[in-house]
C-alpha cells in the first residue's frame, strides 16, 4: 500500500476530499485523506473497538452468577454481541492501515484508550441492568449520531451495531424494572446501581463543548456530527422519564425540568473524577488492563500454533 505519509498533498486531492465532505459523501479507505483525518478516525475507531472488548469484563463478571437460565442466555448473547462489535470495528479500523495486533499492543502500552466507563466495577446484579440501560443507552445516543460520520466503514459499522445496542438497552432496563417490582432488597440494589452509574454515564459523552478542544476540527471533518453537550442532553431527556416510570430516583439534587425547552437541566458534573479515571486512577483501570494482558499472554501459544499450522499448510501445497 502506498504510504500516505509520503504522498504529496496535491491541491486537487485536498479539494476533492473537501468537496466530498461538503456533499455529505463518505470517505472510503482508498480515497486520499489528510493524514490528521486518518489519524483521528483511526484513534477513535480503535478506542471504540477496545471499549467493546474491555466492556466484556464487567459484564463477564456476572455471567456465571446470572440468576436464571433466561438471564444467562441473554447476558451471554449480549457479551457476544459486544465482542462481535469489537471484531467488526477492528476490521473497519484496519482499513486505515494498522492491524489488530498493533492496536492491541498500543492498548497494552496504554497508548490507546478505551471508554473510561468500564473502569467502574460491576458490584451487584443490578449493575448489569444499569450497564445495559444507562451505559449502552448513552452509547446508542452517540452511535446513532455516528451513523452519519464521514468515514464510510465506520458509518456502516455503526448502522449495524446500533441495531444490536437497542436490544441491549431494553435488556438492561428490563432487569431494572423487574428488580423495582421485586423485594425491598432488590429495589435497594437497583437504586444503588442507579446512584453509582448515573454520573459516570453522563461523563461518557466527554467534557463540555467549551472544554473539548478537538470537537471543532472533528465536526468540520464530519467525523463527529453532534457536540458532547448536545448528545448528553438527548440522553438525559430520554432516560430520566424511563427512570421515573419504574420508580427510580435520579441522584441529582439540582435536577430541574424546564417547561419551556421541555428539557432537564442537571447539577454540576464532577470533572475531577472524570479526569482522574481517564488518567488511569479509576477503581478498575489496573484490573481491566491486567486482565486483558494476562489472557492475551496466556493465549500466545494458541496463536503461535495457529500461525505454525498455517505455515505448514502453505509449505505442503
Amino acid at each position: 500500500m502506498e504510504d500516505i505519509l509520503t504522498t504529496p498533498i496535491s491541491q486537487t486531492a485536498l479539494a476533492h476530499f473537501e468537496a466530498r465532505l461538503q456533499n455529505d459523501e463518505k470517505i472510503e479507505p482508498k480515497d486520499w485523506m489528510p493524514e490528521a483525518y486518518r489519524k483521528t478516525v483511526l484513534r477513535q475507531m480503535m478506542q471504540h473497538a477496545h471499549s467493546e472488548v474491555i466492556g466484556m469484563q464487567p459484564e463477564g463478571n456476572w455471567v456465571l452468577r446470572a440468576p436464571s437460565l433466561r438471564a444467562k442466555k441473554i447476558l451471554l448473547a449480549k457479551i457476544q454481541d459486544e465482542g462481535g462489535h469489537g471484531l467488526y470495528l477492528y476490521s473497519a479500523a484496519e482499513t486505515l492501515g494498522m492491524d489488530r495486533t498493533e492496536m492491541i499492543q498500543l492498548l497494552h502500552e496504554q497508548k490507546a484508550k478505551y471508554s473510561s466507563i468500564f473502569n467502574y466495577p460491576a458490584l451487584t446484579w443490578a449493575d448489569i441492568g444499569a450497564i445495559g440501560w444507562l451505559v449502552d443507552g448513552a452509547a446508542i445516543v452517540n452511535q446513532v449520531s455516528l451513523q452519519r460520520t464521514s468515514y464510510g466503514p465506520y458509518a456502516r459499522a455503526m448502522v449495524r451495531i446500533c441495531k444490536e445496542e437497542s436490544f441491549h438497552q431494553r435488556q438492561g432496563y428490563e432487569i431494572m424494572a423487574t428488580m423495582m417490582k421485586g423485594t425491598p432488597e432488590q429495589q435497594a440494589m437497583a437504586q444503588d446501581a442507579m446512584n453509582r452509574w448515573w454520573w459516570p454515564s453522563l461523563m461518557m459523552f466527554g467534557p463540555h463543548d467549551a472544554d473539548s478542544p478537538h470537537t471543532e476540527q472533528s465536526m468540520e471533518w464530519k467525523i463527529k456530527r453532534e457536540s458532547n453537550d448536545r448528545l448528553r442532553q438527548k440522553f438525559i431527556d430520554k432516560t430520566i422519564d424511563q427512570a421515573y416510570v419504574i420508580g427510580l430516583t435520579i441522584p441529582d439534587k439540582d435536577l430541574k425540568f424546564n417547561e419551556e425547552t421541555k428539557s432537564y437541566s442537571i447539577g454540576p458534573i464532577n470533572w475531577d473524577e472524570f479526569w482522574s479515571v481517564v488518567k488511569g486512577n479509576g477503581p478498575c483501570n489496573k484490573q481491566r488492563m491486567t486482565h486483558h494482558i494476562k489472557y492475551h499472554e496466556e493465549g500466545r501459544w494458541v496463536r503461535e500454533a495457529l500461525e505454525a499450522f498455517a505455515k505448514k499448510q502453505i509449505e505442503m501445497n
Binding site: 472488548v53 463477564g60 436464571s68 437460565l69 442466555k73 489472557y295 496463536r303
Partner: protein, 251 residues
C-alpha cells in the same frame, strides 16, 4: 421406578450435563486466546444453556412435581445433580477445554442420533433439536485439536497432556443405571455397542492428530449416581448464589 420417573431422571442426566458444561464454558468469557475464539466458546456455552433448558422443560412433566427449569438448575445441590463428570472437570488450558468439548460431542452426537429415531416423541424431538449444534461443536473442537496437534511442539504437547487428563472421565459417559434398563425400548441404542463406535471414531481422529489413546486404566465414575468430584460444588455455589441468597426474589 415408573417409566415416567425413568424418563425424568434420564433427561436430567443430559440437562445437567449441558448446564454444567455451559457454565464451565462461560468461564472463558473475556479470556479467549483470540477474540474470535472468545466468541466461539461463549457461543457453544450458549448452545448448551439452550439445550439444558429444553431438556429440563421436557423432563418436568414426567416428574409430576410443581417445578420450573430454574428450580432444577438453581435449587438443587451437589448430590442431586446427574451430570457426567467430564462436564464439571475444570477448563484447564485451551487444549484441555477443546478436548472436553470434543470427547463429549462425539458421545452426545451418538446419543442424540439414536434418540432422534426414538418412537418416544419427546426424546425424538430433543435428539433432533440438539444434534445439529452438537455436530457443530464437534467440528469446531476437532478442527482446533488438529491444528494444535500439528502446530508447534508446545501446542502438540499440550493436546497430548489434555488427552491424557480428560481420558479419565470418559468411562463415566458409558455408565448406566436402572433408567437405561427401563427405557431400553425407546432409547434405540445399546451402550456397549455405542462405546465401541465412540472409541473407534476417537481413536481414528487421535491417530490423525498423531496420538495414541492413553493406556491408563485410571477412571473416575459416578455422575449419574450423583457421586461427583469436588469441583461441582464450586460450580453450583457460584451459579446459584443469587437464587440461594434471595430465595423470595424473582429476577
Amino acid at each position: 421406578m415408573t417409566t415416567d420417573q425413568a424418563r425424568y431422571q434420564y433427561l436430567l442426566r443430559f440437562a445437567d450435563t449441558s448446564l454444567v458444561m455451559a457454565q464451565r464454558l462461560a468461564e472463558w468469557c473475556s479470556r479467549g486466546p483470540i477474540l474470535e475464539e472468545d466468541l466461539a466458546l461463549t457461543n457453544i456455552s450458549l448452545d448448551y444453556f439452550g439445550q439444558a433448558e429444553a431438556f429440563y422443560n421436557t423432563a418436568i412433566p414426567f416428574g409430576g412435581k410443581q417445578e420450573t427449569a430454574d428450580d432444577l438448575a438453581f435449587r438443587r445441590s451437589e448430590r442431586e445433580y446427574f451430570n457426567f463428570l467430564i462436564a464439571e472437570a475444570d477448563n484447564g488450558d485451551y487444549a484441555r477445554t477443546m478436548m472436553k468439548i470434543y470427547l463429549l460431542s462425539v458421545y452426545l452426537e451418538k446419543i442424540y442420533t439414536a434418540l432422534s429415531t426414538s418412537s418416544q416423541p419427546e426424546l425424538n424431538m430433543l435428539g433432533v433439536k440438539s444434534l445439529k449444534e452438537i455436530m457443530y461443536h464437534k467440528r469446531h473442537s476437532s478442527a482446533w485439536l488438529f491444528r494444535l496437534a500439528h502446530g508447534t511442539a508446545e501446542s502438540a504437547s499440550r493436546v497430548q497432556q489434555a488427552l491424557q487428563d480428560v481420558w479419565s472421565y470418559t468411562d463415566d459417559l458409558f455408565s448406566t443405571d436402572v433408567c437405561d434398563e427401563l427405557l431400553s425400548g425407546e432409547l434405540n441404542y445399546e451402550i456397549t455397542a455405542m462405546k465401541h463406535v465412540w472409541l473407534a471414531e476417537v481413536e481414528e481422529f487421535m491417530k490423525q492428530c498423531g496420538f495414541v489413546l492413553p493406556q491408563t486404566t485410571y477412571q473416575i465414575q459416578g455422575g449419574i449416581k450423583q457421586m461427583h468430584t469436588e469441583a461441582l460444588g464450586h460450580v453450583l455455589c457460584e451459579m446459584q448464589y443469587l437464587q440461594r441468597a434471595y430465595p423470595n426474589a424473582k429476577w
